[in-house]
Assembly symmetry: C2
Homo-oligomer: 205 residues x 2
DNA sequence: ACCATATTTAAACAAGCGTTTAAAATTTGT
DNA sequence: ACAAATTTTAAACGCTTGTTTAAATATGGT
């Protein structure tokens, strides 16, 4: 049982659910308190302000999101295997948390709401060794040479967009949840094949 | 001069700017009125309510966004040319309106705020003949066979994500506006090459 | 058992929200 | 030029917002 949550934790978890679903502007302190089954004043008692609670939630969501998939680059595998597993994990994570990247992007877009310092998360990403590995692979002619930012966008686009753009695609194609999940299974395969095919340089000239 | 805008038009244009930038929940009627240089009461005088003004703005933004690029499919060109021009136009449009897809997706995600009927826009899309052309090309073995929704997501991902995810990428890579624009030029080329290479079936076995 | 501390509560605060009102100003038709 | 209709205004409406207060309750150490 996960009943043994403290008041502070209950509020944090409720806030995560509500913030991710509705955004900072789209919900009230009272709604978060209600979701946690607590009094409104407790939000400020434990977290000082709605803004500060949000900042805390945002940072943990951001870290969960980035780290859940990048771990694979610490493993001892070929780059191609890592890439395949990374995409697999990304789709796995996003299937159960499809609204997280949209949340992160939307909130970062209105950055004046809180000051987000990307350095801690950047250091953790760098600690996985992704960047060195990719740079090395480029020098060795294993993968296509391009700015790592372009490469990152290419991969993120094909992993995240199918979930970020889900509301749009569901509206235009009138799909229910099951149909969309099925589409994502296929999408993952197409994306993997396309990205691997494009990024990795074929040896047999 | 574009000074000859009526009060109604001034409010509509101001609302578009503010809504797209901050979202429905992120702004007030008073902010829109101020942006238009008008009295608050005029918003409701001309548009009945904030919600109705939003609905109107959303529909026009949606149509502009979808139609600005799909027109190319009405032209008499090879499918590959159309695809290349489509991607070109998409990057062109999104370079000057980078926040529009994020706006559309974010607002659709919280769909209980207004009832959006996708049928009018869908009919216009179908009138361009894209779907028939793609289906025909699949039957003839010109392009890879897959559900058109998967195909649409594949293309949208690689065109829209670089702009939708701009806040995230700018934060993680500490890029200024000029650097990002430059990256998008390159991104467009990679994406075009990758998509054409993957989707179109090579003839020389 | 008691007291100090920590937690939780209901109530209230000013400020901002979307919207309405009714009067003022302007435009229009004749 | 005048009256009717339209447009614009300032002010107010009731309600919700984030936050604070002070009293009530629960907890823990001695």
């Amino acid at each position: 049982m996960s009943k043994e949550l403290s008041t502070e934790e209950k509020i944090r978890e409720a806030a995560k659910r509500v913030f991710v679903e509705k955004g900072f502007d789209g919900c009230s302190s009272r709604e978060i308190a209600k979701e946690a089954g607590m009094n409104v004043a407790l939000v400020n008692y434990y977290f000082c302000s709605k803004k500060q609670l949000f900042k805390l939630v945002f940072e943990t969501v951001m870290e969960d999101f980035m780290m859940s998939t990048l771990e694979v680059f610490k493993r001892d595998l070929s780059l191609e295997s890592k890439m395949r597993i990374f995409i697999e994990r990304e789709y796995e994570f996003l299937t159960s948390h499809p609204d997280i990247p949209r949340f992160i992007i939307s909130e970062l877009a209105r950055g004046d709401k809180f000051e987000f310092d990307p350095r801690p998360i950047l250091e953790k990403i760098e600690a996985t060794g992704v960047f060195e590995e990719l740079t090395k692979a480029q020098k060795q002619g294993v993968i296509r040479k391009m700015d790592l930012t372009n490469l990152m966008i290419l991969i993120s686009a094909n992993c995240q967009y199918p979930f970020v753009g889900k509301p749009l695609m569901k509206h235009l194609n009138k799909l229910d949840e099951d149909q969309y999940t099925e589409l994502m299974m296929l999408q993952k395969q197409y994306v993997t094949e396309m990205l691997i095919g494009y990024l990795f340089i074929q040896k047999n000239k």
